[in-house]
Symmetry: C2
Subunit: 314 residues, 2 copies
Amino acid sequence: MLFSSASITVLAPATVANVVCGFDVLGFALHEPNDVMKLRLIEQPGVVLINDDEFNLPTEPTQNVAGAALLAMLHAIPEPLGVEVRIRKAIRPGSGIGSSAASAAGAVAGLNYLLGNHFSKPELVQFAMYGEEVASGVRHADNIAPAIYGGVTLIRATTPTPDIVALDAPPLFVTVVHPQIEIKTSDARKILKQEVPLRDAIRQWANVGGLVAGLLQHDYALIGRSLEDVIVEPVRSILIPGFQDVKEGSRIAGALGGGISGSGPSLFMLSQDEATARAVENVMHATYQRLGLDYLTYLTTINPVGCQVLVDEN
Amino acid sequence: MLFSSASITVLAPATVANVVCGFDVLGFALHEPNDVMKLRLIEQPGVVLINDDEFNLPTEPTQNVAGAALLAMLHAIPEPLGVEVRIRKAIRPGSGIGSSAASAAGAVAGLNYLLGNHFSKPELVQFAMYGEEVASGVRHADNIAPAIYGGVTLIRATTPTPDIVALDAPPLFVTVVHPQIEIKTSDARKILKQEVPLRDAIRQWANVGGLVAGLLQHDYALIGRSLEDVIVEPVRSILIPGFQDVKEGSRIAGALGGGISGSGPSLFMLSQDEATARAVENVMHATYQRLGLDYLTYLTTINPVGCQVLVDEN
């Protein structure tokens, strides 16, 4: 194994999981916002975490998303190694755009660079999933996979090992709105029905097939027609004020479609061009100003590379 | 509209529907077997059917799959028109490889040629679906779509109009075995559970996404991993003696995977090369000879064009 003595900076991107019909299986990475993480190897074995932001996340490694992911990774290495991580989060915890995944994915992508890229992407996904377990109790890869691979990813399976398919999507503009309300992932899971009508399930997998085909064939109209969720959205959208107004207004403004990002509260809309994405942002502004809710918006594009490692000048 | 006075011959192909995880949405056309249909326009308005085989199918147009499809098509034309159809079926009714769909699709593809290709493929699918209604009581497009479009098709939706996506698949060899037992489509439908666990549904749509991606990316290994059905096969395979032996033996022989064709009793297996497809055929021979069941096998490839119209020499 090649150890690097460099200090590096990782840009760990926000991600959208549960892409409409692709609940639990489809996700993509965003160009903005990014967490910024600085990593370097240190003499003392273990993980040292330093927060460089206002979120007061735990610095005890086993309680911290990045820490737990790094400990899993260190555990897979025979040598006793130490790593220091300084984290400046820009992706707000609880926003539904993969805040915890960014911390976990950025940490393992960074450490992997310092180890001479010893581990493969599927292995990095597995390590980072330990971080997700700290955040939500579930070792899921929905946001981890696009954060590690970039672009649009399909998680075909997570066991025995993650089977992740990178989908070569056409350029897409993404408008995200984060209404400042709290939805816990665990609560959002609880309200899902554990049995679904076969009829709805068939319609959902027809749309998943259509969405994957639309992405790979760069067929924007097919992408738009396939952005339909008959299973999760009807239940979860009730938790998000303004959902119907944003969705309908965005379609009228020309968006291909969209829905809940992750388990919410953020909503995302996909557009073929920037002007439409901006019109969608205006729909979001109008909706939440009318409702009197604080909110943030992002107008960005799909990030094809995922976590990006920059070597610091010493 | 351009009317042709020619007599034409249509080769209407067998098709595989319910492709493993793609229950109700994925199908493909085969090079063999084909029904052979001869069509010509006649003076007297309406449909005249002539059987040229041993199956004794009804010749009253409203009771006949091809007849019902043609009547639906004639109904969409302002002029009173007549068409004569002579049908020599090679695809056995009840085999599960789209016998009724071949009749319906072949009939409308043939008449459309005689009408100067007046109708689009989605329109032909809609007309042919009236034929399927005669056969099974359900106006489904699972076999019709690949018979009309050729290749591998995804039916993203059937209402308000069929939304059919042609998938550019890599070369695939298909081995089919038709054990000579009877399974009625209506019975096969009845034993399905109308509610499915969300967990299984998610796994199924992950596999549908994987299969569509594997086909479009020409990734044989991904196709193989995605050929998994956790919802329908566990229930329906019980109706088909030899199912597990064929499936497991075929995988051991090198097949990518496969399952029940349509609602059975035929089984199909996909292979990357002809030698493997032949080894799979030997597994099928061995299985049904051991069970003492009569059976037929076909070793063929995916037919990229669907129904083929040949103009007869006069």
